[in-house]
């Protein structure tokens, strides 16, 4: 969800207007993903590094997110979307917002349609550290640790590996996003800014992904010569 600030600057609006405009995109993309048959959708809403932004902008974001969550809760429930919040552990997080996150997750926990993971106050490295702590706390021997077991100790261990990451506004960085799960992800970097990103853009990204040749570190099926 990049480009809110630039979107607003281009229109000579305050940065906060960009965040507000992002709300429409979020809802549009959730609908588009559901309609396209996507089963796991994750949105990177706020990183652990975003706390470094000016205090007023952070405050505004918190209030905005709270309003958005409450406004769309019935819709998300009705659409059968299971919502959950990855991260959201910082003490700076307003208590009311944390309560709303909990409530939305509780409310939609039984839904079986798409799973929407909102990475809020998320950092991929922190998740990995959490998993390591959990392994140690459970007294697991060093030799027993495998990739599978390690993944089971990450937050939300049922999350599958990420297939496709879409990063808007032309930025081409990982920015500490779900580091463990993106190991074999395909990346798409549309130039459009997040507030302008709409369902057709999303479908274009899906289309691009479909044409990619995913090899997971192996070799393409048809090669010239002997692969050995």
């Amino acid at each position: 969800m990049d480009g809110n600030g630039r979107w607003a600057q281009r229109r000579s609006l305050p940065r906060t207007a960009g965040h507000r405009a992002a709300e429409a995109t979020v809802i549009d993309i959730i609908e588009a993903a559901r309609a396209a048959g996507v089963e796991w959708l994750s949105l990177y809403a706020f990183s652990t590094e975003n706390w470094n932004r000016p205090g007023t902008e952070v405050d505004y974001l918190m209030r905005l997110v709270r309003r958005v969550v409450r406004k769309h809760a019935p819709l998300l429930l009705a659409r059968g979307i299971r919502c959950r919040f990855l991260g959201a552990a910082d003490p700076r997080l307003p208590r009311e917002l944390a309560q709303d996150f909990d409530d939305l997750a509780t409310l939609t926990a039984g839904n079986q349609g798409m799973t929407l993971t909102v990475a809020f106050d998320h950092g991929g490295r922190r998740d990995i550290v959490e998993a390591a702590r959990s392994l140690i706390r459970n007294g697991i021997q060093a030799d027993e640790v495998t990739e599978r077991l390690f993944a089971d100790h990450l937050p939300f261990p049922d999350t599958p590996d990420v297939d496709l990451v879409i990063r808007t506004s032309g930025e081409q960085r990982i920015s500490n996003f779900m580091l463990w799960q993106v190991a074999y992800a395909e990346w798409v970097f549309p130039d459009v800014l997040w507030p302008d990103f709409r369902a057709p853009d999303f479908l274009t990204c899906l289309h691009t992904y479909r044409r990619r040749d995913r090899r997971f570190g192996g070799v393409p099926p048809q090669t010239n010569g002997d692969p050995a």
């Binding site: 405050d59 918190m62 209030r63 709270r66 309003r67 969550v69 409450r70 809760a73 019935p74 429930l77 003490p91 700076r92 997080l93 307003p94 208590r95 009311e96 944390a98 309560q99 709303d100 909990d102 409530d103 939305l104 509780t106 409310l107 926990a109 039984g110």
Partner: protein, 488 residues
């Protein structure tokens, strides 16, 4: 008299024929009548003082209700040995309750006249409940029932001499006590005005505090108004209770509506299963707990939706959550522990009745006889002396929440360890040196939990003592002791 209510029990089993009381047992009207009877009980200065000092009904009303119910069931068990044993247990329990009220008048839960009054309020409330719901009892039934109640008193006291033999004299006796002896006691005021407004959620609904509070805000004042309107007029005048327009109609409507449930199929309303279900705790391995857990999940969802739909109040100022390292480790704050566990009587102070209530709860769970019961009480009494010596810094004879919070670390003294050891001894009924699955179930009403340090399916002394100490002095949450001592 905490358990005086217990008396409610139908003496019926004491009788050969189908007891009158039995018929009321699952009657929803009885719920209203029992509240009314309890207020009349509490308005008696002796009972009121005993209740205010000893009863856990403010802080742990649901546990108290369940205990009362089980005791009632035993009092009209078909087996006379069970009835005698329960009567003896009630007498021992009441013998431990005596003291003096705020005006220095002494009370004693074994006082015969007082106990007769408790039985009288139950009888009178049963009769009144029938009158108020428009189905008055005929003279013959009233007399039979009166005889049953007198027999009940006799089972407790040896004879029923304190209650008039003849029903006509009973009404004169009842009116005289209402006129002459009842007072506007603190206990009666608490029941009428505080209990229902602050009633904590039962274990079953513990997960839905919003829903519970919303329902309570409506039902609490209604129950208060209904009860006030059903009290005898002379008492309402004397205690300065409000006469609200419409309250008598409301009260009669409530009794009438409750009475209409007699047209429901039999077995639909079963007091026992209702009470048992309400006290189910989520960790229990009771098969019904699964259903309860499913129900609780739905209620949690409903209250989450309710909260999300509530319009935002303009001020959404960020209010950072204080770092709670204690919560993360499954510990309570000192203040929380004091309120949930130590202050059993809910009066804001820790004193002997609080610890006696813990001993009483443990003895009831384990169904102890003498001399084990006395051993347990003695251990708690020694712990109380230790606490008092260590914590009562202002010397007023009791420990306040602040005094406790200031001195928390020094809490695990030898007397507390002694309590843990005695508790282990009395729990380990077969003296095998370990608590086996059945003994564990008797105390905690649930099978071994996997986080217990169990080896070979048993629970040995050091692990038992360690868990008890970490609950009591480390304030750690514990799946066994939480439902036992902390739940409402």
């Amino acid at each position: 008299m905490t358990t005086g209510t217990t008396g409610t029990a139908d003496e019926t089993p004491l009788f050969a024929s189908e007891p009158q009381f039995r018929a009321f047992f699952d009657d929803p009207r009885w719920a209203l009548a029992i509240i009314r009877a309890t207020v009349l009980e509490a308005a008696h200065p002796q009972v009121g003082a005993a209740l205010a000092d000893n009863s856990t009904f403010v802080a742990h009303p649901w546990r108290r209700l369940r205990n009362t119910f089980l005791s009632m069931r035993r009092m009209f068990d078909a087996d006379p040995a069970v009835r005698e044993r329960e009567a003896a247990r009630l007498n021992r329990l009441h013998a431990r309750m005596s003291g003096s009220d705020t005006r220095g008048r002494s009370y004693d839960a074994m006082d015969r006249a007082t106990r007769a009054w408790v039985v009288a309020t139950l009888y009178e409330s049963a009769v009144t409940m029938c009158r108020l719901s428009g189905q008055p009892l005929d003279q013959g039934t009233m007399e039979r029932m009166y005889a049953e109640y007198r027999d009940f008193l006799a089972a407790l006291d040896g004879d029923a001499g304190e209650l008039p033999e003849d029903l006509n004299d009973f009404w004169r006796y009842f009116d005289r006590v209402v006129e002459d002896e009842l007072e506007n006691t603190e206990a009666a005021r608490i029941i009428l005005y505080r209990l229902f407004d602050h009633l904590p959620a039962p274990a079953l609904l513990g997960g839905a505090p919003t829903l519970w509070a919303a329902g309570r805000a409506v039902v609490g004042p209604l129950l208060g108004a209904i009860t006030v309107a059903s009290l005898p007029e002379p008492y309402r005048r004397k205690a300065g209770l409000p006469e609200m327009p419409g309250a008598p109609t409301l009260m009669q409507g409530a009794y009438l509506a409750a009475g209409l449930t007699r047209f429901l199929p039999e077995d639909w309303i079963d007091a026992e299963s209702i009470i048992e279900t309400l006290s189910l705790s989520p960790d229990s391995d009771d098969p019904r707990a699964r259903t309860a857990t499913a129900l609780r999940a739905r209620m949690k969802r409903a209250s989450a939706l309710l909260r999300l739909l509530t319009p935002l109040s303009g001020d959404t100022d960020p209010d950072p959550v204080p770092p709670t390292s204690e919560a993360a480790e499954g510990r309570r704050s000192a203040e929380e522990f004091f309120r949930q566990v130590l202050d059993q009587t809910g009066d804001g102070h820790l004193d002997w009745p609080d610890l006696a209530a813990m001993a009483r709860e443990l003895a009831t769970r384990l169904d102890l006889d003498e001399p084990e019961e006395t051993r347990l009480y003695d251990a708690f009494a020694a712990w109380w002396r230790e606490l008092q010596a260590a914590l009562d810094t202002d010397g007023d004879g009791r420990v306040s929440a602040d005094e406790y919070a200031a001195a928390v670390p020094s809490l695990a003294g030898p007397a507390l360890i002694r309590v843990a050891e005695v508790l282990f001894d009395v729990t380990d009924k077969d003296g095998s040196g370990t608590v086996d699955a059945d003994e564990h179930r008797a105390l905690f009403r649930t099978a071994f939990h996997r986080d217990l340090t169990i080896t070979d399916g048993t629970y040995d002394r050091s692990a038992f003592v360690g868990d008890f100490l970490s609950f009591m002095s480390g304030r750690r949450r514990n799946t066994g002791y939480d439902p036992l001592l902390a739940d409402a």
